[in-house]
Symmetry: D2
Subunit: 375 residues, 4 copies
Amino acid sequence: MNNVRIGLIGAGWMGKAHTTAFHNAKMIFGDDVPIFEVIADNNEEQAKTMQEVLGYNRYTTDWKEVCADPNVDLVDVATPNCMHYEMVKYALENGKHVFCEKPLSISAEQSRELADLAAAKGVVNYCGFSNIMNPANAYVRDLVATGKLGRIMRVHATYDQDMLLDPSLPITWRHINKLAGSGALGDLCSHLLSVSQMICGDMEEVNAVSSIVIPERPKFAGSDELQKVENDDVITFLVKYKNGAIGDFSSSRVSTGRKNYFYYEIQGTEGSVVYNLERMCEVQVYFKEDADKDSGRDCGFRTVLLNPQHEGFKWFQPAGGIAIAFDDMKTLQAHALMQAMNGKEYICDFEMGAKVDGIIGAVVRSLQTRQWEKC
Amino acid sequence: MNNVRIGLIGAGWMGKAHTTAFHNAKMIFGDDVPIFEVIADNNEEQAKTMQEVLGYNRYTTDWKEVCADPNVDLVDVATPNCMHYEMVKYALENGKHVFCEKPLSISAEQSRELADLAAAKGVVNYCGFSNIMNPANAYVRDLVATGKLGRIMRVHATYDQDMLLDPSLPITWRHINKLAGSGALGDLCSHLLSVSQMICGDMEEVNAVSSIVIPERPKFAGSDELQKVENDDVITFLVKYKNGAIGDFSSSRVSTGRKNYFYYEIQGTEGSVVYNLERMCEVQVYFKEDADKDSGRDCGFRTVLLNPQHEGFKWFQPAGGIAIAFDDMKTLQAHALMQAMNGKEYICDFEMGAKVDGIIGAVVRSLQTRQWEKC
Amino acid sequence: MNNVRIGLIGAGWMGKAHTTAFHNAKMIFGDDVPIFEVIADNNEEQAKTMQEVLGYNRYTTDWKEVCADPNVDLVDVATPNCMHYEMVKYALENGKHVFCEKPLSISAEQSRELADLAAAKGVVNYCGFSNIMNPANAYVRDLVATGKLGRIMRVHATYDQDMLLDPSLPITWRHINKLAGSGALGDLCSHLLSVSQMICGDMEEVNAVSSIVIPERPKFAGSDELQKVENDDVITFLVKYKNGAIGDFSSSRVSTGRKNYFYYEIQGTEGSVVYNLERMCEVQVYFKEDADKDSGRDCGFRTVLLNPQHEGFKWFQPAGGIAIAFDDMKTLQAHALMQAMNGKEYICDFEMGAKVDGIIGAVVRSLQTRQWEKC
Amino acid sequence: MNNVRIGLIGAGWMGKAHTTAFHNAKMIFGDDVPIFEVIADNNEEQAKTMQEVLGYNRYTTDWKEVCADPNVDLVDVATPNCMHYEMVKYALENGKHVFCEKPLSISAEQSRELADLAAAKGVVNYCGFSNIMNPANAYVRDLVATGKLGRIMRVHATYDQDMLLDPSLPITWRHINKLAGSGALGDLCSHLLSVSQMICGDMEEVNAVSSIVIPERPKFAGSDELQKVENDDVITFLVKYKNGAIGDFSSSRVSTGRKNYFYYEIQGTEGSVVYNLERMCEVQVYFKEDADKDSGRDCGFRTVLLNPQHEGFKWFQPAGGIAIAFDDMKTLQAHALMQAMNGKEYICDFEMGAKVDGIIGAVVRSLQTRQWEKC
């Protein structure tokens, strides 16, 4: 078994989720042993409490110390998005392997720099888009990669939630551009973009429209003072892929009735798939060859329930139709990351993170120029 | 083209529906010409009005006159259920071809007698279970008949509505046994039984339970006086088929939330189907051979949309996914009936009607004996 | 009852469908009496045959004769799209009421001219977008108009079929711009645009991308000679509505697995709806007020089955959950048209047809300029 | 925090699952500390290996030693079903708290005896029907208990899988009555019965039919020698509840196309629910009061996505629509069990286990007598 000595920066919700995922990956796969070396948070109280709860060997309030610690193999960056750039860069410069929660940074330029630096350093560089490890998405990737869907013609994708529908909810970092980079685009749609990147490859250019449905929100809960919302509540954009496919991507954080509607449809010349994360364990698949028999009498989308034939599933359940969870994607991610440190190939590297941020950057530019923008 | 001179008994809603169906069958198929000879109703006002509206040549208040009329080829019985027996019998005795709206009668014995008499007379004898002509059911029949589903193991079927959920709705003929024979069983479940008969063949025995949810209803709308409901609001029964399959059938007329939930599932050793009339134009089909490939990676129920490959569909729409209507089943029925008078084979004869009523009779007996009863 | 003397131009499939719809409207509503005065087709054989089959009083090969005939109240234009302009214009100039099958013409300019001319003449001018009369769409229109969905934020709509997926299918008028104006855009997406116009009102501007998946097709069935496909197999475009909503519209005629997937989703601040014409009789509706109770415990999209409370439905079925058909929309259309000639208000006039064609024109321009274009 | 010293009997798959659940319950809730004291298995090799893998303090091959160990608070019985009775009884006689994986035993009589003994001893007695803790079922229980569905009229439930559809799969303990008690009935349908017991209360009597679809199977994988299958591949039975509701329950282990189709529908006078475990995180709910507004215009089943308002959910995800897993039910179960040892109320005690086994016993008798049998 492979020891992985972890230094975590950020003792909040995401840091806890990462730590749990490392634990679970060890329990389920038994391939690697995470050693929880040090946890950092600028809030000492929080750092200390979480050190105990999560079982880290020590804590610090100085994140740079984590990056420099010779007992740390992997720096895990789980801080607010706007801090990723500086921390990841410093960790790379110290020659550490780095796990950065998505997004890699809040600008295309910074993410590009980090991806190039990571490549130059030759370390493991893993970007935490957890949907990449969803067995459903892995299945679709496989259908596309093996040609079962033929040439991809078109992609439609949207990620909708209504969590911010209530106008009395106060301003948060999500609404401020210098903290978030963009709105629903970076927060939600980025997940679709990571999956698109994995399955359909690079985009050529994009063309966007957006709207701010709730232009002002209370400065804090219950406050009468209002503050301006700076970024997209709703985003929609056209895309052209390098492979010739076209499509549209959207996201809304005020999408009445939608809870976790991460939905995409991919249409190829030989087949199509439809997937909705709210029904995590089922994929709709259509094969044109079914229509070629009996003049189409028996053809139709198949409701495929995830089962052990779909990559990753078998570690959680022994048979199809038994529900796996959203968090299981994170466990698969933690395992893939630790295996990467042992030399295995992995998908979701900083290059992918930088490409996603490159698309987001192009979308933001397009909103300003009202033009097609190169990714 | 084949002329069919029709004498209609019963100038109500169903008589109108039959007449419209004959019209439509002529317009759509162009195979037969219905001649609307005479319409009978014991309410002269109604008879006269409907003669004009529906375009019959003459009217009468004496239904026996219709049965004896030498200008009538086909007697169409569209009266209340409890009158079917007498009228059909008289029409047969007069050597007429007979179209009897479902049910054939309100007792197994009477229906058996009518089926035998019709066979002896050698006339066309058509029982109006309209679901028989639904292209979806025809498709399933075909899948079973050709062995695509293998050996049938099991059938689950239910027909649920909530039309009578409101306890303030008054007593009608449906609630009185001498007028209806039974409750939800004869009114709704009989439709499932006709489809079961066509697709899966004869039943051997049944075993039933029922309940009356609303034991008393107003004598008439708004009345304070209550009258006893005599028959099943909810019926459920076990069945054994002659072919070895087992199953359960149910029906409820007080099924909160269900509007026209005619639902069945047939499980065979090589495949299964699921159908719900509320989604009339789609059939869920699973083929075991899909699961035999790639260790089951791609298997799942296919959502088959009705299309011109399914018997009957092409007369209404040129392509799959375009909705046909409940009433189109009646048009197909009218056409099959007129074609039967021209020598074509047909499915839904009095023998089938008598078998359905035989099952209903056995279910009613089982409710009394609390035993398995032979069909 | 109101007599409507009809002169039909075009004795093909659509002419037959119109005639059947007039027949059915009379049978079902009994409000108006269509008089089938004259049928015109430049193919005399076809004109003569269809005169007999459809029951017109006479036929002609000169469509101008129909427009000038003093015995004709309504000129019904059911010819190929590229002929609409000339015929409609001539009929209007002759002071006739006009029913023009969609599209009004194949260019925004011509359609604008026809709408203005019709308004000036003060005649009934009805454009045949049949989805306008679908009870499901009428229901959604009502939800929006009465404010039940709040302020509309966003619309997503697509109309996908795979009828032209097979590359061996030959070139038809659909692929040639001077005959069709555009591809999937005008043929399919126009139906969505008509419904959007009715429910959400005017669009401000659009921005489009398209692709031709099968760039060449056989000159005729079985031919080795190939001819260039001139217009969009797949179209996608962004829209901004005048009311501030944004959205995306798409259509594909090579959408593997989709048969008649006319799908839209409308998100408002108080509720959302989802509709798919493949499940014609059901509408998914979400009301935010459901989520405001019990902290959202019981909220979710409601699967509303069409029933007599939805405008138009009651004429076909007496209760919810019983399937109505695609063709019933055409019957409702024929009735609305005849009633319009009797002074009733109607929705789908040439103004609406011109607006739809105006949007299509803007989309086509946007494909050329790669810019946002005003509608 | 509450220490719970555990002695596990059975070092197989289920023993591992229980141990993982205790671990997870500690991690997620932080209320109780499981101490993994001793693990027993008659296979010493297995006992030793699993002691290390699962982290037990010691192992033994003598299960009685576990029951007598003063350092053990809770005896966890995770052995083959036919051994439960003897082990549970001995543990109770030694005054231990007992957690017995479902079923409590393989006969109604033994289970009754165990339930009575446990009650007399006053110890915690927990039966491992994991679906009891599914937040979806807890939600439905709540809807029924608070009267939101009104009086329950009818229940339909089935649990179908096709795992044993392949006739070349060999005989296992599942097919032998002295090891399993019954077939699909005890293995699968028992899960439905536990949920029914929790939500709808006691049954009065049952009436059953069954079939063996594959009467003989290979003695072992690949063998030509066949052995008789002794129990039901398919079971269906009618039920009468003490509260007056009626219903039908079924299960099949050869149900072509069904993977984990645990499905039930409960119809009450004020509302109905439909649930399918293959879509674990969604519950269909209909409220009659929705139909009472606007004459039923807006009514329909609501697709409720599990969210933090549903008991148990919030421990796994912070918002609705994010998938939880089948295994999370086991974590909730382990927590409820440990909390019970700390004095909290719990639902799934031996009394419930005995009632489920009482129903199963009555069903088995009914198969023999072909009569209604009291539960």
